[in-house]
């Protein structure tokens, strides 16, 4: 990672400029502003902040599941050798299926809770993306399960697992098809601090091994400070008598 930073121009996976998302609710509005954001391939990014500050909004935009209100530039490079894709063009063209295909092939997503299909066994949940992509079993799933300590539960339904175990399964599913990037929204929030620390450490080790870019949102910097993540700067302030909450993220 140090090496990547030292190169003259790192290969960027994300390049955002002037991206804005406005959400309006009764009497109040929320605005996320990203003047500039560049994430290099293989980087490990941390997005730290209290809940409600717009972390999830940014993650959803990066995960291509939330359409930005405005974007001057939004480029995403699916793999090292490829040229960057203009995501704002696909949003404007309403190419949702195309974005879905991109997500299926290149992305993994770990949700704060759940996100597992209750009717599929742990193994089937983990292999879901691989199956959709028609990838053959090459032992990745089993070694991930072993690394995350869930190999004993492979044939069970998620409903029978503890919350911590479910989060491990969710992490395994996000990694199983060897995506270019994994986005995790507070993956350890529902866990006790000790398990949280342990799972986060395994998670970071795995993405490093598999050379996957990762973006993790968390409200607790202390936990992940020592794992070598780059922290995105952001600040939140209220405008116009508190009617609009605006968060600015740069990095």
């Amino acid at each position: 990672m140090e090496q990547e930073h030292s190169t003259a121009s790192p290969v960027l996976i994300y390049h955002l400029r002037g991206v804005v998302k406005t959400r309006e609710a009764k009497g109040s509005a929320f605005r996320l502003v990203v003047p500039s954001l560049q994430i290099a391939l293989g980087e490990k990014i941390a997005l730290i902040g209290q809940s409600g500050c717009g972390k999830s909004t940014l993650l959803d935009i990066l995960a291509l599941i939330l359409r930005p209100t405005e974007s001057a530039a939004f480029r995403f490079r699916p793999e090292p050798g490829a040229s960057p894709l203009d995501i704002s063009k696909y949003w404007k063209g309403k190419k949702l299926n195309w974005l879905g295909d991109l997500r299926k092939q290149r992305m993994g997503y770990v949700m704060q809770t759940g996100g597992l299909l209750p009717y599929l066994s742990v193994r089937e949940n983990m292999t879901l993306s691989r199956r959709l992509l028609g990838m053959r079993d090459d032992g990745t799933v089993d070694s991930l399960a072993k690394a995350l300590g869930i190999h004993r539960h492979m044939e069970r339904l998620p409903g029978l697992l503890s919350v911590g175990e479910r989060q491990r399964v969710a992490i395994a599913r996000a990694l199983a098809h060897r995506p270019s990037i994994v986005i995790a929204d507070e993956p350890t929030a529902p866990l006790d601090p000790i398990s949280a620390k342990k799972i986060m450490a395994i998670f970071m080790e795995l993405v490093e091994q598999m050379n996957i870019t990762v973006i993790v949102a968390s409200h607790d910097w202390k936990h992940i400070q020592r794992l070598g993540l780059r922290r995105l700067a952001h600040h939140t302030h209220q405008k116009q008598d508190g009617a609009i909450t605006e968060t600015t993220v740069t990095g």
Binding site: D60, I65, G100, Q105, Y109, G114, Y119, L120, L128, L132
Partner: protein, 405 residues
């Protein structure tokens, strides 16, 4: 949509459906609970109205057009009648006094005078599949005549005719073969269905003319085409009777029909059908709405799971298939359960009322095509409702669905 993706969606939809078997079972039962009574209602409509109409149609007497008094009907007239599309059967009738014959069998002592009924191919009074007298010496006896003569199909009887000719009493005999016995409802009196040739010969003999076919002597027949005083005429269906009557009346004939009875039953059928349809339309609307509402609600309940599927990369179009397929399972299973319930109810209703029914009649009856209509309607409503719900679920941004609690 390639086969693999269809299979992926189908597999996941099935897994979800069976995983939630309790919920799925509730949907199936809810559907069957509304559909089964509808099917019973329809079965009753088809059965009751059907057997009523069938009785009306089956009874040939209802299709008969009788002439009052006698006329002069020549071969041209009969030919013209035969060619009419609304006429099923027409045959000339001789003077009724001359259309009798005395029969004597070896097994009964009495000589029995019977009416000769001109018959032929397609005679509505003789049931389908029964033999028709085509040869001059063949007859079909009415049930009562056969019983009085103690004969059965295949027996021979002696027919005799008497006349007073040139001051002398004469009697001729002819051996007739009973080729069949008509069903009791065909003709209640003593009668013999015969080929027109025999009936005509009997009249000729009585009139003192020769009937060469049978070797009966007499005066030569007058020149020119023969005319008949009457006819046996049957409309093709009960619905043609009124029109046929009107057209014959327009020709100046006085005719009698069962048109009045037919009208009454038909208007009753119409009213009954209207009542049934009113209930049915209300029921079907309720059925569609309840099915639609439950499937719509189900899609809403599954929004988060559907969003997860989109997150892993399922396309919008595939997502819509998910609830649609599950609705299809519900529709097919619900229809199956409803059909079973219906068949049970049908059996018990028909058994309950069996004593008041004729053989082969049923009060409650659905034909295979009715079951098909039910399944098509059910599947159609289910797919539309779930499709609309699924489309709504697919249209929201995946991130919105994910964050719902």
């Amino acid at each position: 949509m390639p086969v693999k993706r269809i299979f992926d969606v189908l597999r996941l939809a099935l897994r979800d459906y069976s995983h939630e078997w309790e919920m799925s079972g509730c949907f199936v039962l809810a559907l069957a609970a509304v559909l089964a009574p509808m099917m019973v209602l329809f079965g009753l409509k088809v059965g009751v109205v059907g057997s009523m109409v069938e009785g009306l149609v089956e009874e040939p007497r209802n299709r008969e057009v009788r002439a009052v008094g006698s006329g002069h009907f020549g071969p041209d007239w009969f030919q013209a009648m035969r060619e009419r599309p609304d006429v099923a059967f027409v045959v000339p009738r001789t003077r009724s006094l001359a259309a009798t014959i005395q029969l004597k069998s070896r097994t009964a002592r009495r000589i029995l005078p019977v009416e000769l009924i001109p018959s032929g191919e397609g005679d509505p009074l003789l049931s389908r599949g029964s033999r028709i007298p085509t040869q001059p010496t063949e007859i079909v006896l009415s049930d009562s005549a056969a019983r009085r003569l103690k004969v059965k199909a295949g027996d021979k009887v002696d027919g005799s005719l008497a006349r007073r000719f040139q001051g002398r009493n004469e009697r001729v005999h002819v051996e007739l073969t009973v080729i069949a016995v008509a069903r009791p409802a065909a003709f209640s009196r003593e009668g013999a269905f015969a080929a027109p040739a025999l009936v005509v010969a009997a009249e000729d003999f009585r009139d003192g003319r020769a009937a060469t076919e049978f070797g009966w002597e007499g005066q030569a027949s007058p020149e020119g085409p023969r005319t008949f005083p009457g006819f046996r005429l049957y409309a093709r269906s009960i619905y043609d009777v009124a029109a046929l009557r009107d057209s014959l009346t327009a020709e100046g004939m006085d005719v009698r029909t069962q048109a009045g009875d037919i009208d009454r039953v038909q208007s009753m059928e119409r009213n009954l059908t209207a009542v049934f349809w009113t209930i049915a339309v209300i029921g079907l609307l309720g059925f569609s709405f309840s099915l639609g509402a439950s499937l719509w609600a189900n899609v809403d309940r599954k929004r988060r799971e559907l969003s997860v599927l989109r997150l892993v990369g399922f396309r919008t179009g595939d997502i819509v298939w998910f609830p649609v397929l599950q609705a299809l399972f519900t529709a097919l299973l619900g229809w199956g359960v409803a059909s079973l319930v219906y068949l049970g109810v049908e059996q018990s209703i028909n058994r309950m009322l069996a004593s008041q029914l004729q053989q082969g009649q049923s009060v409650c009856l659905l034909l295979p095509e009715h079951f098909m209509v039910a399944v098509v309607f059910t599947v159609g409503s289910a797919v539309v409702a779930a499709g609309l719900g699924g489309f709504r679920a697919a249209r929201i941004e995946p991130s919105d669905g994910l964050r719902e609690i």
